[in-house]
Amino acid sequence: MREDNKLEIIKRMNRRNIITIVVCILLIVLIISFFSNNRDGKVKTQIKTTLDSIVEKSDLETANITYNVIAKKCKNESNCDKNSNNIDDFKYVVSCKGTITAGIDFKKVNIEVDEKNKKVIITMPEATIKGEPNIGSIKFLNGKDLKAAELPDARKLCQETAKEKSEKDNKLIPAAKEQARVVLEEFYGQWIKVYDSSYTVVVK
């Protein structure tokens, strides 16, 4: 009878120990997973903090793009081939210096941490053109006999041509985004080395 009680007590003690060990292991696993998840969150937070600071200080939200164009004034608007290579087919041809402002809304940036592939992916929104082209100096490439009165018209033509060309220019918007993307990728590529060199940063 006593032997049976002893065995029962030993069994209970073993069961308690096993339960304690299992609970401890579970706790350790929980703590480790909490810290690793928190680490991802920390990477995100740190990237967001530095991103806000970099964007704010370095004017990455706006890109001023040099947009110089050639504008052609037809001799006869009803019968004019704008694709003609001959400068003399036009009343005048003018070289216009201009700039275009593009903007990126960095509030729409998305940051993801891909722990499996050891990647931090920063996704930027598309750039948008802000306002109208700004025309600076203009230069007539022909038409030496032009009157000074033509100048306002030529300037207006520059404005219209720059607007029309920029709207059709399928390289402009990606280039505006690329201006900011290159800087961010360059910076975060180095930044992550200090934080965790096993990670790479992709900005897209």
Binding site: N17, T20, I21, C24, L27, I28, I31, I32, F35, R39, Q46, T50, S53, I54, K57, S58, D59, A63, I65, T66, Y67, N68, V69, I70, K72, N85, N86, I87, D88, V93, S95, L141, N142, K165, S166, D169, K171, L172, A175, A176, E178, Q179, V182, V183, E186, F187, Q190, W191, K193, V194, Y195
Partner: protein
């Protein structure tokens, strides 16, 4: 006894993990060494939509008699990268501050001009002589392309605002890295900046 051991193990694990998290929160000379970087840091990529003016002179020799000087105009696009040479960045730890020297902006790599823009169909040309022709050839397209590359480089190198902005961005990026390394608050860091002109 066993419970004590398990609890001890638990406490050590927690301490180890929290220790790992805090190990980088100080600015030491050792940490600063990580900032002594090599290579180039691109801080600006400028996109240009430009106009090229190219002059084709009259040829030399009897066969070129009565030729006319030709002018060629074309629009082209290209990008140019600007930044600093990181190996020239100097970081000095002082008692109460950090001195950082930022080298001047340079062009990184070659300008990337779009060659397709130098197709003869995209040109606007001055009138040719009707007596002896001086045509625009593929060689002229290639020369115009070379001129565009050089011009874009010159324009960028003479654009004080652009150079200053690229240098300023380098400063911002380095400042962020110092903050990252130190784990210190922005306000607690005293950084003295020196810029190469």
């Amino acid at each position: 006894m066993k419970k004590g051991f398990i609890c001890g193990l638990l406490v050590m694990t927690i301490l180890f993990i929290s220790g790992c998290e805090n190990s980088k929160n100080e600015l030491t000379t050792e940490n600063i060494k990580k900032l002594e970087l090599t290579g180039n840091l691109v801080t600006y990529q400028a996109y240009y939509h430009n106009v090229i003016e190219y002059d084709k002179p009259v040829g030399v020799g009897i066969t070129h008699l009565l030729e006319k000087e030709r002018k060629l105009f074309a629009e082209y696009t290209g990008t140019i990268r600007l930044g600093i040479n990181l190996s020239k960045v100097k970081i000095e730890m002082k008692k109460n501050s950090i001195n950082v020297f930022i080298p001047k902006t340079k062009i990184i790599g070659e300008p990337n001009v779009n060659k397709d823009d130098f197709d003869a169909n995209n040109f606007i040309e001055s009138k040719d002589s009707w007596i002896n022709s001086n045509p625009i050839t593929a060689d002229d397209s290639a020369s115009a392309f070379d001129k565009a590359q050089k011009e874009m480089k010159e324009v960028a190198m003479n654009d004080e605002e652009l150079l200053s902005q690229a240098q300023q961005r380098a400063k911002i990026l380095i400042e962020e890295k110092i903050i990252q390394l130190s784990g210190l608050n922005r306000k607690d860091l005293k950084i003295m900046w020196e810029y190469e002109q």
